[in-house]
Structures are given as C-alpha cells and as structure tokens.
C-alpha cells in the first residue's frame, strides 16, 4: 500500500486575498464564485490539483477542499465555484473582497500525461465541471483535442462554458430546459460513432461518469474520474478521504493518491450517504 509514485509534498500555505466573491445565477441561489489572489499556489498548479481553502477564523475547524475552474499565472488569481451547503461554504460566502483566504496547495497528483494528438472527452456536472477546464487547457496546449459534455441544473451553472467553447466543441444539457432524464453523455455516445475518442474524464456525477465509462468500455478507450471527498487535511496526514477500490480491495486516499483515478480502479458510487459537500 506504499505509494508507488512519491506523495506530493510540494505544496505551500499561502495567505491569499479575496478579490471577488458573490452568488452566481439567481440571488438566492446556492452557488458561489470566489476569486482569490494567491500567486505562489497559482504558479505551481497543474490540471488535477486541488486546494484546501479557509476564509474564516474559528469555526468550522477544518478547511474545505476546492478544485478551481481556472488559474491565471499573470494575475496570480484562481477562480473557484462552490456549492453553499454547510458552515464552511456559508463562511466562504460571507467573505468580502480584501479579506484573507488561507490557501494550501496545490494538492493531489496532477494529470501529467502527454496529450499530443490525443482526443479527449470531458464530462462534468455542476461544480464538478470546474476541475475539467484546467485539464482542457492543458490538453490543447499539449497538442490534443477536447470535447466538453457539460451538465447542470440551469444554464447559470454551466461554469466556464465560453472558455470550454474556445477550446473545442461543447455539448450542454441543463435540467430546467432539457429535463433531468436527458444525459449529456447521450451526445457523447452518438459522437463516438463517427469520431475517435482516446480518453474520457468525468467529474461531478456518478451517473454521467458511469455512462462515460460504459462508452469507453464499448469503444475501447480508457476513462478517468475526478473524485470529490470530504477531507480532514487534504495533505495525506489524516487518511480521512478513502476511495473504495473495486472488488473490495481496500481504499486509496483521494487527497494524495488522487483526486484523478482510472475508473477501473475505484467504485463509481456514492460513499454511503449521498454526495459529499
């Protein structure tokens, strides 16, 4: 069970500054967007990385794991979308520009493959869309092609839509227009017929990731999943974020062995109690 590639210890703790913060979409909505200036972490971030974020003193005790939509090295800023659900994300929502955001990162294992000439499908839903954008940019920068399949409750929550569109074709399904029975992976299924796909990455929906995996199996391409998990520390100390391995073969830690796993390795279902925050 000793990690075969070294655990990421190249993270830093940085007192970033909140630059923008507010609710996305309808005013009483439950999705926030915060922009944080933390140049040290931003400069080191690669696709697949995440950060631990704390914008409050006192309670709650633990920081929150977040996967930014984008990192801008020039401005030193990262952009994070978060679902306002518990005391931590409510505290983030209350934060004002100019206030300090303690950021620990970049954390986890980045996606470092060479994408030259490779065609990659990205399947995301809700805030699970966000870690796919840095990957999309990386793939294109490395000479690959991307197609994004994005799903959300409403059009407001298709985060980074235009930026995905600048990188390749985008298919979108939103519940309130298309119904929540419609799967954005149906579009991927159709397109797989006439287009070679070399890999798919899913995030934010077990159902969509399972559908993507099934397409990979039938068309012969590998599939990967970005896992989300409640975390204690994010850095490998607490062992609190296990991903169940397939066939009951124990666990891997999302924080230091993930967050990206080949779908053949991990169970694609909810860890006991519904989606983590």
């Amino acid at each position: 069970m000793v990690a075969e590639t070294p655990v990421n210890t190249d993270w830093k703790i940085e007192d970033g500054v909140v630059v923008e913060n507010g609710v996305v979409g309808p005013e009483n909505g439950d999705i926030g967007r915060v922009v944080i200036e933390a140049p040290g972490v931003v400069a080191a971030a690669r696709p697949g990385h995440f950060v631990m974020l704390r914008t409050w003193e006192g309670e709650p005790f633990l920081p929150r794991a977040m996967a930014p939509l984008s990192y801008d090295v020039a401005s030193g800023r990262m952009e994070i979308f978060y679902r306002i659900k518990g005391p931590g994300t409510r505290a983030i929502a209350r934060t004002h520009p100019g206030e300090i955001a303690r950021v620990t990162g970049p954390l986890g294992r980045p996606v470092v493959e060479d994408f030259e000439g490779r065609r990659v499908a990205l399947v995301g839903r809700g805030v699970g869309i966000t870690p796919l954008l840095p990957l999309a940019e990386h793939i294109v920068a490395k000479g690959g092609e991307v197609r994004a399949y994005l799903s959300a409750r409403t059009r407001d929550y298709v985060f980074g839509h235009d930026r995905f569109a600048a990188l390749g074709p985008v298919r979108v399904r939103v519940d309130d227009e298309d119904g929540d029975e419609a799967l954005v992976t149906d579009a991927l299924a159709r397109e797989c017929e006439g287009y070679r796909v070399d890999a798919v990455y899913g995030c934010g929906s077990w159902r969509l990731t399972r559908a993507a995996e099934a397409l990979g199996v039938s068309h012969g391409f590998p599939s990967y999943v970005f896992l989300e998990s409640k975390m204690g520390c994010g850095v490998g100390y607490c062992k609190g974020c296990p991903a169940r391995l397939r066939n009951g073969d124990g666990y891997k830690l999302v924080c230091v062995e993930g967050p990206v796993f080949p779908t053949r390795e991990v169970e694609l279902s909810d860890p006991v109690h519904g989606p983590p925050e």
Partner: protein
C-alpha cells in the same frame, strides 16, 4: 538569555516538548518547505499493526463543534512492510522516532516489539491501547488488567522506552495509569480520542461509515487537561499530554497541569504549521516570564496558588 526547551520523557531526551500525535502527521520522505519534522521534539509514526489492514469504509471523518470525529480504522501496511519500506525513510530525520504500535493481543505486541527492538532508528514505542481488542471483545485501555497485560508483554520484549497511550473512556483513568506504571511503562500518553458519534439528519443515519468514532480537537481539551492533572498526582512516570492542543497557550496549560511533553493532532489538519508555531510560542512565553526551562512549568498547578495582587 534563551530558555531551555529540552525536556526528558523518562529515558527519552527531546530538544523541545512538542511532537505530532500519532496519525496526524506523516513523513513522506520529505516535508513541504513550511513544515519541517526536523524541528519537532520527536516524530510519532501512524500506528502499525502486525498484519496489513485497510482501515474503515467511508465516511471516515466528520466535523463537530470545535473538533472532529474520525473513524479511520488504522490503515496499516503491516509490520514487515513497515520495517522494510517505511521506517528506513525516517533515517533522514533528526528527532527521535516514536513508533506507534497497535496490537490486538499481548502476543502480537511482543512479536512486533521484538522486531522493532532490532531497528537502529526506533527511539521509543507508543502503545495504542484504545482500539477494540478482538480477543476479549473489549477495549484494552478500558481494563486495567488488559492494559497491564499488554504493557507487560511489551516490557518483556524490548528495552526501548514504552509510552502507554490511554483512553479517556474509563471510569477511573488513574487506575489504568497505575496499572501500566506498575508493569514498566516508561511514560503515559493522555488522552486518546473520546468516543463520539454524528448523525446525519438527511439520511437519518450515523454519518460515519463505522457509526461511532473518536472525538478530537479543541472540544476535548478540558477533558484531556483534567486527566493529565489527575494522573500527575497518581503516578510517577512522565506524562505526554494530548487532546485539543492548537496553540502555545494550550500546550502551556498541559505543562502546568503536569505534562512533560505534548502532542499536537487535529490542529495540524487545520494548520500544518501548528507544531512550529507552538514551539516558537512556548519559547517566547518562557522568555517573557523569565523562566530558564520548560521543566520549571511542569506540574506548577499542583504547587498551590500564587498570591495575586489587587
């Protein structure tokens, strides 16, 4: 004048009294730039078991008011892989290495300690007595007899300093403390997590995969302090205080109550630089108060009150 931060925990000499609690810091062969285990008073490994075990299913951690519950379940590579793959990495570190051992029977304890005693880079062992004892269907640290049996087995198998880590979930902690002192424990570590539980109102079920878990963090500091205080009066072996320490002031409270060293656990999850900050804070406090050494503070509470002016 710089104050002396060094402290002795029985036969173990530490350059300062602050170390991580088992399972809350991990040495991955190197540290991030801002976290340096070389500055710790000691390093404590996560608990190792005789055979490999995977740990508990998710959900493993839950936040609680000023604390957290964990039901990690001691994932372990097993003692043999630990000795071959993990322990050699600790050679690179300067502070004493305390190996935390989780044994499910005195026999297991003996055999693990025999193996550990052969290693050049093990400076002490900490016996985690708080996990369910499979043989007896009870928790070792909840029974003076079982605790003594385990420590006696350890004592018979090694000359390494033995730190016995006790559970707060007992009627009389001093009874357990005396029992392990009698059979040769060199020090006590007080306290392990407190049994607790979280319920998810949405699913109407226990939140943790293992249903109950161990409560840690600032929430339990008053409980830990009380047990350190009590055991200080009841036993002669040194005490390592642990439970909710997040600041230098917290650490000082444990020293005053009778601890010779402290462990920092959950605070590291919130702020990985906690240990360094606590070490610096203790040094600053000693200087401010004109004290020469950490040792002067240990157990001060028990000396009786200072006269306070109007």
């Amino acid at each position: 004048m710089k104050a002396e931060l060094a402290t002795d925990v029985g036969p173990l000499r530490l350059k300062n009294p602050v170390m991580p609690a088992s399972g809350t810091y991990d040495w991955f062969g190197r540290d991030p730039e801002q976290v340096s285990a070389d500055s710790f008073g000691a390093v404590v490994t996560k608990s190792v078991t005789l055979r490999p075990q995977a740990g508990n299913p998710p959900i493993r951690v839950a936040e609680t008011p000023s604390g957290m519950l964990n039901a990690i379940g001691i994932p372990s590579v097993g003692i043999e892989e630990f000795l071959e793959e993990v322990l050699p990495q600790y050679h690179a570190l300067d502070p004493p290495v305390i190996v935390s051992v989780q044994a499910y029977s005195p026999r297991e304890c003996e055999s693990m300690l025999a193996r550990l005693s052969e290693q050049p880079r093990v400076d002490a062992v900490e016996l985690n007595l708080s996990c369910p004892n499979l043989a007896h269907g009870t928790i070792t640290a909840q029974s003076a007899r079982l605790s003594a049996e385990m420590v006696a087995a350890a004592r018979g198998a090694t000359r390494l300093p033995i730190v016995a880590k006790l559970s707060p979930n007992v009627t009389d902690i001093a009874e357990i403390a005396r029992a392990v002192e009698e059979v040769g424990a060199d020090a006590l570590c007080l306290i392990n997590t407190v049994k607790g539980m979280a319920v998810d109102v949405e699913t109407r079920q226990a939140l943790l995969g293992n249903r109950s878990g161990g409560l840690s963090g600032p929430a339990i500091k008053p409980i830990a302090l009380s047990m350190v205080w009590e055991c200080y009066q009841e036993v002669d072996i040194p005490i390592v205080g642990v439970g909710g320490i997040a600041t230098a002031e917290d650490a000082l409270q444990f020293l005053l109550a009778g601890a010779r060293a402290v462990q920092v656990g959950t605070a590291t999850f919130r702020e990985p630089r906690s240990l360094a900050r606590i070490i610096a804070g203790i040094e600053e406090h000693l200087a401010q108060d004109g004290l020469h050494s950490v040792g002067e503070l240990v157990g001060w509470c028990h000396k009786g009150r200072l006269t306070v002016g109007s």
